[in-house]
Every structure is written in C-alpha cells, then in structure tokens.
C-alpha cells in the first residue's frame, strides 16, 4: 500500500512542493511527512497545511485532488513511484534519476526537464518544454523515458542528450530543437521547424513533417530497430497503426548547419 496524500486545502498561489518525493519521505513517519516544508508563494509552511497523509511510507506515493498549482513534484527523485490522480503543475519530475511518475490527468510545462533516468507516463496532455533543458542550459534530458498519451506543445526534447520521449498525439513547433542525441516519437501531427539545429538523434513521425531547407533526403527503408520501439510503446498503452511496424520510412538527414548527424524518419505507408 502506498502513502496517500489527499489535498484538503487548495493553495491560493503556487505551492512549491519539491518535498513530495520518495527520497525526501524516506524513513519519515506520517507525522514527520506532514511537517516537511513547502513554499506557499513566499511563505514557508508545512505539507500538512494542505494535505492529509495516510497509508504506508513504502516508497510509493499516491496524490489525490487537483494539484495543478503544485510545482516541482518528484523533483530529483531516484526511486519509488508517484501516482497523481488528476492534473499536475510545472516542473514535475525535474532532474529525476529513477523511479516512476504516473499522471492520470494533464501535465503542465517543463515535464521532466533535465531528467537523468526513470519514467514518466502522462495519460492526458503535457505542456511546453517536455524533457527539455532550462533556459541557458546546454543539455536537457539525459536519460529515462517520458510517455505522453495525449498531445504536447512546443520545444519537446529541446537540447536532449539521451533517452526517449514518445507522444501519441500531436506535437507543437520546434520538436527536438537543438537536440544532441536521443529519440523522439510523435504519432500525430507535428508543428513547424522540427529538429532545427539538431546534432544527432532520431525524430520519428507517423506523418510527414515540414522539413527545414537544411535537411536533406537520404533514403527510404524499413528500420528494424523501430519494430522493437513500437512494440514496447504498444505495450505501454499507445495506439499505433499496426502497419507501421512493417511499413517503409523516409529518412532525412540534418541539421546541416550543425553536425548533420541527426535524422527525421517519417512513415510513408505500407
């Protein structure tokens, strides 16, 4: 049984709750968990001022209630799990290195920024900057996986270096912008300027994206490695056209203003 946090008071300004993390809860009694500090705007208060705490502190946390004003949930977590019954605010899973976060609703901007490992699953939509680096940072996500069953907005995987981001729905502009390496899958439509400034890495799309003038056509083929990725994503709850596993993809190389070692693969049909 998990430790259950039930929201009893809605914060009137953003609540920064980076203490909601299995690492920070480790070895604490329920009473001590309720006394952990959170920032209600500029006031330091206790977690218990907003949440009832019950269950067993066994490394698994379940959060109930609308926590869309809560920031930094699961920041820096390295083990265990957090299950969120509704929608969650910004910076969820920032720089996490292990464990799992499951979000039943929507995630706000900066989901899993600069993440090192672990897994985030969003059953709804996510905002801008999924798995990206913070402003001024040269490296974003460095490992782990982010799976979004809905849509995402702009700059997904900005400066990502390693790991997997998969989106079952649509993505906004600048998907994989300046990415250093890693894999991004989008099964819906993508916005403009996909892969701008990418050095290495793969962006896989079910539909043909608008190509920048600095990307060049390479070939049409059946990439074997995709079969494994796609079957893994289907197991994870993605709805994917089964023909994709056997179909052909066009491969485009880019971005030629950088190393030109990145690739955009899009499905061309059976």
């Amino acid at each position: 049984m998990a430790l259950i946090l039930k929201l009893h008071t809605q914060p009137d300004v953003p609540l920064e709750a980076d203490c909601i993390c299995p690492d920070k809860f480790a070895q604490l009694s329920l009473q001590q968990v309720e006394q952990l500090p959170v920032f209600h705007g500029n006031r330091q208060v206790a977690l218990g001022d907003f949440f009832h705490c019950s269950g067993d502190n066994d490394g698994h946390i379940q959060i109930e209630g609308d926590i869309s004003k809560l920031k930094h949930i699961g920041s820096m977590m390295s083990f265990g799990s957090i299950r969120i019954s509704g929608s969650v605010g910004v910076h969820t899973g920032a720089a996490m290195s292990g464990g799992e976060i499951i979000i039943e609703g929507d995630a706000d901007d900066w989901l899993g920024p600069e993440m090192l490992g672990g897994r985030i699953v969003v059953k709804g939509n996510a905002g801008h900057m999924v798995g990206s680096g913070y402003r001024g940072s040269t490296v974003g996500m460095q490992g782990g996986e982010i799976l979004v069953l809905g849509n995402v907005k702009n700059e997904t995987g900005h400066v990502m270096r390693r790991g997997l981001i998969a989106v079952n729905g649509n993505a906004g502009d600048f998907t994989g912008v300046n990415m250093l390496a890693g894999n991004i899958f989008v099964f819906g439509e993508m916005g403009i300027r996909t892969g701008a400034g990418m050095k290495r890495g793969s962006i896989v799309s079910q539909t043909e994206p608008q190509m920048l003038p600095t990307f060049s056509y390479a070939c049409r083929y059946r990439p074997v490695f995709l079969t494994h990725y796609l079957s893994y994503l289907v197991e994870s709850g993605f709805s994917i056209d089964p023909d994709m596993t056997r179909g052909e993809f066009e491969r485009w190389c880019g971005d030629s203003v950088e190393l030109n070692r990145g690739e955009i693969l899009f499905y061309t049909g059976k």
Partner: protein, 454 residues
C-alpha cells in the same frame, strides 16, 4: 509664451531606445513648458512639447487623495502581506529607480519583470542560448560598411537611427557616409524605411527563421535546393548574393526588431540571427544588435542583471533569484492567476496585456507609479503621480547599445520622482520584514522534520 526662456544644451531624449543626447531644449520656465526641441525627431518633438504639468493629486488610495507618506505606508503593507507579489514595468524610469525596485522585490520575496518580457525578451533568451557578438552604435557609425535591418521599421519607430548612428553619418572609416555603406532591409512588407535600402529582401510572413537558417547554411558552404524560393519567397540567388556581401564586408551589423522576436518562433528567430552573426565572424567582423523600444528598457535589463544575475522574469520567493521566462514573466503570472499583488512602475499593462491577464490584474491590489493617468492607474489601489525622467528629473539611462547616459532635466515638477517613492517603499518594506522576521523567529525552520534515527 513668456520671455523667460532657459536653454538646456545637450539634453537627452528618453522617448525611444536611441536616447539621443544632443537636444537643445528651449524651456519656458514660468509656464513650465518646452517650447522648442532642437535636433529632436518627430517623435522626440512630440515627447517634449506634449509634456506639461497636470493638476492632479500626487498620491491616491482607492481614488481618494492622501499624503505621499500614507500612500507609501499602504503600498509597503500591501506588498508585505502578499504571498506572490509581482513588480513590472521599469523601462520608462531611471536606473536609480530600477535599482530600488529590485531591492523591494528582493525584500518582499516577490517576482520582478520588465517590459522586456513582451518585446525583446526572446532576444534575452537567445543571448543566453547562442551568445551575442556586440558593439556600440559609435563603432557602427565609424566602421560599419554593411548594415542589415531585419524585422523593423526604424524610419517610423526610431527616426534618428539612420541619420545619427547607422546609415548616413560620416565615420572614421566611413568618410563618405551612406556612399560607403550597403544597406539591406529584410521585411515582409514595404515600409517607410524601404527607400533607404540598397537591397530589399521580402520573405513570406512567418518565414524569417527559414531564411536565416538558409543563410547560415550558405555561409557554412552547404548547398541548398532552388525550392527555397517556393518555401520562403526569397530566390536562392538573392540569398547567395547577400551571403557574399556579408562574408566580404569589413564590418557588418544586423539590427533586428520585433518583426523577428514577436512572430512565431520568437527566441529561435532571434537565436538564428545571432547564430548567423557568430558564423560570419569566421570570415569578417559581424555584430548583431536588437533595436530597443522604450527609453530605458536596456537599463532595466542591465540593472536587473547586475542585481540578480538575470535580465527579466526573476523570482525571489525562495529567498534567492531564479529565472524562468514562461513561469515568472508577468503575462504568465497574471494569466495563470498566480500573482496576488502588483507593483507597476511606468507601464500600462491594463491597456496592452491579454484579456485573461488584465482580468486577473483587476482582481488584485495594484500599486502604480506613473507620470500620467492610465488604464492601470484607474484600477489602482495605491497610485503615485511622479515626475518624468529626462524632462523633470536627472538620473542614468542606457542607450540600446548598453552605453550609460546621464539625463539633464529641463524644469522641475511638483511631483516626486520614481526613485524617491520607491526608496520610501523600500525602506518601509525593509522595516516591516525585519519586524515580521523578529516576531516569527525561525518557526518555519522548526517545522522541518529530520529523518528518525532508528
């Protein structure tokens, strides 16, 4: 007009980011009016001529006239009570006042943001991501032989930019003025700036990034297909010619405006242009400068950077500065309903922000410092009427190329200046925060649990 005319030589116009400091102002001392502004452009003449002293209360609380001391007390109490106070504006006041505003935000653990976030904020992000090859406008005047304007219309927004800094002035290495320079204008439409250009490039709307990316590829010696014309509206030959000119000039400059920063792609558009300037430094000397709007918006960036380490969108709620545009920028803190009090300095967000942000602004207590009545002052809980910088008060402002310039006021105002009011609020806020800290002790820290030893 009376005979009592005072002449203020080398005064500074603070209307736009050009901050021209060669004005000769003829001031009617009795009527407190500037009757002539020699050397001013059409915008500067209007700025000086329309400035008169209005008969209005210096301070009001909820629309009722009060003393300045009462208003300062109420403003300080409001800010100290708030859990998420925001400070916004700052681009039309002096650096000295901006410095006080940063101190207030720091003391009340609030969020400070400037009008940069709604104009060249994307360029601020791009500077951090890409870097900035920069120079002063003096260097441009003396050295530049290739001047490119991208996404701006200086003839109407900064009328003296051409004549004083970049196109026609005769410099040390450009003795022929315009004859020694090639001027390129990149814009989606013809404007009043177009006649100045030797080369006019007109990309399709929203295709600036693609054109910049294509130029970067050509500078790096990559080949591009002729499809580029279909995609961007600019023929490949035009791009190739421009690249040759850029690579072979002695000193090139890219001036960019909000046509680039505030269209789809935003900071990536600015970043692409800055990256192009960086790439060109492999071949020649090339710089890129944003053409800034408000008189001291550059000063706001400089002061906030100097004091906090970041140029705008800085939050102090954890006691140390954190920078995150999109989270701590004013449009976002208001639209998301996060702010619970606002200190607005020399800006009018109630008339130019998105509706959702304005709706929230009207729900929270606002403290406003402005030289005139605006939409924001109408909704203000505490409103101060202040003196105009550059006309009534001295101080320091930064020109768009980060050069500091001292102001020479023309005549005195009956209203206090922004710095005086903000210093008063800062002192009172400090006292209140100290008293609060003493009263509560370290109760917050005492609640922090430590892991049990067993």
């Amino acid at each position: 007009m009376t005979d009592n005319i005072k002449i203020v030589e080398n005064a500074t116009c603070t209307f736009c980011g050009c901050v021209c400091d060669d004005m000769d102002l003829h001031v009617d001392v009795e009527e407190k009016k500037i009757v002539k502004a020699k050397n001013a452009c059409v915008l500067g003449r209007a700025w000086f001529a329309e400035h008169t002293i209005e008969d209005a209360p210096a301070a009001m609380i909820d629309g009722k006239e009060v003393s300045i001391e009462e208003a300062i007390e109420e403003a300080a109490q409001t800010l100290v009570k708030a859990k998420f106070p925001i400070t916004y504006g700052l681009s039309d006041t002096t650096c000295e006042a901006q410095r006080q505003a940063v101190a207030i935000s720091d003391f009340v653990k609030g969020t400070i943001d400037t009008t940069t976030s709604v104009c060249h904020g994307p360029s601020g992000l791009a500077f951090q991501g890409v870097g900035e090859s920069t120079s002063t406008l003096g260097e441009v005047k003396n050295r530049a032989d290739l001047v490119i304007y991208w996404g701006g219309n200086p003839a109407e927004s900064h009328p003296r930019h051409f004549g004083r800094y970049a196109v026609t002035p005769k410099g040390m290495f450009t003795p022929g003025g315009k004859k020694d320079r090639t001027v390129v204008l990149v814009d989606v439409r013809k404007t009043k700036s177009s006649p100045v250009a030797d080369i006019l490039v007109r990309p399709k709307p929203g295709k600036d990034f693609e054109v910049l990316w294509a130029l970067r590829a050509l500078v790096k010696g990559k080949t591009l297909s002729n499809d580029i014309e279909k995609d961007t509206g600019v023929p490949l030959d035009v791009l190739k010619d421009l690249v040759e000119r850029m690579k072979n000039c002695r000193f090139g400059v890219l001036f960019f405006g909000m046509g680039l920063t505030m269209t789809r792609g935003r900071h990536f558009n600015s970043g692409a242009l800055l990256a192009l300037a960086n790439d060109l430094n492999e071949f020649t000397h090339f710089v890129a400068k944003p053409v800034r709007g408000h008189g001291n918006v550059t000063g706001a960036d400089n002061v906030v950077s100097w004091q906090t380490g970041y140029p705008f969108g800085v939050n102090f709620s954890r006691g140390y500065p954190r920078f995150n545009p999109g989270e701590f920028t004013t449009v976002d803190t208001l639209s998301n309903g996060h702010a619970d009090a606002a200190l607005i300095i020399a800006s009018d967000p109630a008339s130019n922000f998105p509706k959702k942000a304005i709706d929230h602004l009207k729900r929270i207590p606002i403290i406003v410092l402005d030289t005139k009545s605006t939409e924001t002052t109408k909704d203000a809980h505490v409103a101060f009427r202040t003196a105009t910088y550059g006309i009534n008060t001295t101080g320091t402002v930064y020109r768009m190329d980060d050069v500091a310039i001292t102001l020479r006021p023309a005549f005195e105002s009956p209203f206090p200046d922004d710095e005086t009011i903000l210093t008063g609020i800062r002192k009172r806020v400090h006292e209140l925060m100290l008293a609060k800290h003493k009263a509560h002790g370290a109760s917050g820290e005492a609640k922090v649990a430590s892991p049990s030893k067993d």
